[in-house]
């Protein structure tokens, strides 16, 4: 009887490193169909909700881009971190701090303020994100504290800071005691690109980010040094690249971008600071980064895909009466399928007949 055998490839397969995310998507869809069937829903309708509805109309595509923007921004930063072997798991916290920082400035505006206020709003978001990630970098650098734990734990601290602000000093006095700030002045609103769509200049920041990160990775010596630190720490030390510098660079870039995403969100689609600002983008962006192969261009696609899951989950709730947590199920399925399919990059499957070697 023949047997299926895994055989190590001598070189990682170029073809499979591109094909693996597609195969993973196919697996996710297949398992999704099974899932819909098991829940007693029409699988075709289920798939429609997830993969067709979000691109059916111009407005829907706009919504897709609105959700993809923060995911892409955060994922770009995370890719810099992950490629440097710095495991920043706390982008969600940096995103929240960015939202808080931006809100602080936005709350200072009054109806007479000029629209230049948008610039300090965004800058405040970036700086707050930098600061939050900088805490992790400092603790790692100074005390060799594990950055995975520190950055993750700081997410929960960030949530408490957010709660303190909206339950305390920043609570809207005319807000019927709801834990939220007043709605920001219109001048602080992030400029939108088109009428009739919520797509803002955030997507331009994200696309410029894609180009800059690509250049950094593949055309600058600093970017090269950054990645060598992740691929082979001993080689990095041998070359004389500073690992401290790599640590700070990675965390500051990812923190700053996550903070920017938070600012764009709170001064954009949301328009006020509420306890519901943390939507899990910081964690979902980890999946975006990996499904996009930590490659700036790949992440554009994976951010759109992940955004589809977000919208699909919401639609599944309203149209099919399924829980919204379906979004998380699909995200998880995609990540697990990808991890499984990635095996094919380094291994090949072969049927071998038993009994050879007698």
């Amino acid at each position: 009887m023949p047997k299926l055998k895994l055989e190590a490839r001598s070189q990682p397969s170029q073809m499979w490193s591109y094909a693996s995310p597609l195969l993973a998507l196919a697996c996710t869809v297949a398992i999704g169909v099974l899932l819909f069937a098991l829940l007693g829903k029409d699988p075709v309708k289920g798939l429609q909700v997830f993969f067709w509805e979000p691109v059916k109309t111009g407005y829907a595509v706009g919504e897709l881009v609105v959700k993809a923007t923060p995911l892409l921004l955060i994922a770009l930063g995370l890719a810099v971190s992950f490629r440097s072997n710095v495991w920043n798991i706390g982008a969600e916290g940096q995103y929240i701090l960015g939202a808080i920082g931006a809100s602080g400035v936005a709350l200072m505006a009054n109806p007479a303020t000029g629209s230049w206020i948008v610039v300090p709003v965004l800058l405040a978001g970036v700086l707050a994100g930098l600061f939050w990630a900088g805490l992790t970098a400092f603790l790692r650098d100074r005390f060799n504290a594990n950055e995975i734990l520190v950055s993750l734990m700081l997410v929960y601290v960030a949530v408490q800071v957010l709660n303190f602000m909206v339950f305390g000093p920043w609570k809207d006095p005319h807000g019927y005691n709801f834990p939220q700030t007043k709605t920001f002045e219109v001048v602080t609103r992030i400029p939108r690109l088109f009428a009739g769509s919520r797509v803002s200049i955030g997507i331009i920041f994200a696309l410029v980010g894609v180009v800059l990160v690509w250049v950094f990775f593949f055309r600058t010596r600093s970017g090269f040094a950054q990645q060598v630190g992740g691929l082979a720490p001993a080689a990095s030390r041998y070359a004389g690249f500073s690992s401290r510098r790599a640590l700070w660079t990675a965390l500051l870039i990812s923190g700053g971008l996550a903070g920017l995403a938070g600012a764009l969100e709170v001064a954009g689609p949301i328009g006020q600071l509420t306890p519901y600002v943390p939507a899990g983008y910081g964690f979902a962006a980890i999946i975006v980064a990996y499904v996009g192969r930590l490659h700036p261009v790949g992440m554009v696609f994976s951010a759109l895909l992940m955004s589809m899951f977000y919208i699909g989950g919401e639609l599944a709730q309203s149209r099919l009466g399924l829980p919204k947590s379906l979004t998380g199920v699909f995200q998880g399925l995609l990540l697990f399928s990808l991890l499984a399919c990635d095996m094919l990059v380094n291994y090949r499957l072969r049927w071998i007949a038993l009994g050879v070697g007698k």
Binding site: Q11, F216, F218, T220, R221, A225, A234, G357, K358
Partner: protein, 511 residues
């Protein structure tokens, strides 16, 4: 006619890219010491793993004492009287000798194991204390533990993989005594090596492998180095041209360098004094694990804890400079580990240039500089051509090259930088004879052009071949230097045990 202890018939083992063994046959008689000779990558280790059950052959038969055997794992091999001493030891540093040996044995108490270790040790003159923790043992002592562990299973066939690469010449002599005694008791020995003189001294039969095939079976005592070498590499090794050394001004001086280990099982450096002049090759001999690693980290700048003023290049104190800064002063370094330190395994040859070279970088002030991809690829291409490196091209990833070719590439990368001082660790470790000769030739040429060269190697033959002057490192201390003309294998071997203080003081004048 007696039945052979071990007979291999038509063993073939293929890996995805390479046929490691192709139709290999081999016969070992009882009590015979049989050499398996071949270059790195000739398939010796694969063959031994097949015999020891770590690998299953694709085709062929293994006969033990005339019986066809199917050895599925090392445990079955041991049960059938096959023992093996690996080149890389499988010992737990934090446990004692007895505990390590005990791990592999079933149904005995630690006391019994300790007693049997002592008994075996006395029987074969292998001096070892079973209660000592392994991390306190020297490399030679660790090997003794491995040998005793193998002997406790009462093997009829003992396989030794490159056993002398970690030993001083004196320790090699002791090992040979043990092996001769074993053979006289009827135990067959398979002795893997690429050192011709050892094989001629110890073995009575020899099977030569080249590129996975048997290229000769002979009695090594009746062969010359040249004829064995022809069987092994298909040609005689090229001779090196060694001119008189024209030592110039001092390039690097190390003064009273003491450095505490920063890893638990490392070695403390103690009062190292060392100098290298332009136009000379200085060697550092010693058994591995005596402080070479720590010294090289301190010299290259990967470890910058060296005391102020202890390392100078020319007149400049470089003790606090990082590797990049020292490189800008003309110090280039080839580390012992190729994959992961000298080169990033998953990056291309061209990208690996960027570790130590900046010729293809422009606008260095902005984000470390802009990488000119085309220039970088051309540069890699030139190195590949000039040093005859077998590689797919500048875009092949480092890990796809054979060990020897990658080493050539790394050496090429550093030599091509026209260094003022080149430090090379284990220049030809795991490199085939042809490539080794080429690397040594390049190092000599560099010296003739006036570069100062420091070579750290465990291979005494190599040091004697290229060096003008030699130091020996033992337990973190460095001996005085000795001109190569005054050095003998016996003396260096003695120094490798740290016994240079016994020598006449007059000989230390070069220190």
């Amino acid at each position: 006619m007696t039945t052979p202890r071990l007979e291999l018939k038509g063993i073939t083992k293929a890996f995805p890219d390479v046929v490691a063994n192709s139709d290999v046959s081999l016969t070992v008689m009882p009590g015979e010491t049989h050499a398996v000779l071949g270059e790195n990558g000739a398939g010796k280790s694969t063959l031994m793993k097949v015999i020891y059950g770590s690998l299953m052959p694709d085709a062929g038969q293994i006969l033990l004492n005339g019986q066809v055997m199917r050895i599925r794992n090392p445990k079955e091999a041991r049960a059938n009287g096959i023992g093996m001493v690996f080149q890389h030891f499988n010992l737990f540093d934090t446990m004692t000798v007895a505990e390590n040996v005990w791990l592999g044995l079933a149904r005995t108490s630690l006391e019994q194991v300790t007693a049997s270790i002592v008994a075996k040790a006395t029987e074969y003159g292998l001096d070892i204390d079973p209660r000592r923790a392994v991390h306190t043992l020297s490399v030679g002592e660790r090997q003794r533990v491995e040998i005793i562990r193998a002997l406790l299973t009462r093997p009829e066939l003992l396989i030794l993989d490159e056993p002398t690469s970690v030993l001083t010449p004196q320790a090699v002599e002791k090992l040979f005594l043990v092996l001769r005694k074993l053979a006289s008791e009827g135990c067959s020995i398979l002795y893997i090596s690429h050192k011709l003189h050892e094989i001629r001294e110890l073995c009575t039969a020899c099977t030569v492998l080249r590129a996975g095939k048997v290229t000769g079976v002979c009695n090594p005592k009746e062969e010359s180095n040249a004829s064995l070498s022809r069987m092994m590499i298909g040609a005689e090794p090229p001779l090196l041209e060694h001119h008189e050394c024209q030592a110039g001004s001092t390039t690097m001086v190390v003064r009273n360098l003491s450095l505490e280990r920063d890893d638990q099982f490392g070695v403390d450096l103690q009062e190292i004094n060392l100098s290298v002049c332009a136009g000379e090759i200085v060697g550092i001999a010693g058994v591995s694990g005596n402080g070479q690693k720590e010294l090289l980290y301190a010299l290259s700048g990967e470890d910058t804890r060296s005391p102020h003023g202890s390392i100078r290049i020319g007149e400049v104190d470089v003790s606090a400079l990082d590797p990049g800064e020292r490189r800008r002063m003309g110090l280039h370094f080839v580390p012992e580990e190729r994959l992961g330190r000298g080169a990033v395994p998953t990056l291309s040859l061209a990208q690996n240039l960027l570790l130590t070279r900046t010729e293809s970088i422009s606008i260095p002030r902005c984000a470390g500089g802009w990488i000119r991809v085309k220039a970088l690829a051309n540069h890699a291409e030139r190195l590949i051509d000039r040093f005859h490196i077998k590689a797919g091209g500048p875009n092949s990833v480092a890990r796809s090259l054979s060990g020897g070719n990658l080493q050539k590439y790394i050496v090429a990368r550093e030599i091509d930088a026209n260094p003022k001082l080149l430090i090379v660790s284990q220049p030809t470790w795991g490199v085939d004879v042809g490539a080794a000769a080429q690397i040594r030739g390049e190092i000599l040429r560099l010296r003739d052009e006036g570069c100062a060269v420091l070579v750290v190697s465990e291979e005494l033959d190599e040091l004697f071949e290229v060096c003008d002057r030699m130091y020996v490192i033992a337990r973190g201390k460095l001996s005085p230097s000795i001109p190569i003309a005054e050095a003998t294998v016996e003396k260096i071997g003695e120094w490798m045990s740290g016994l240079w203080d016994r020598s006449v003081p007059g000989e230390a004048r070069h220190a």
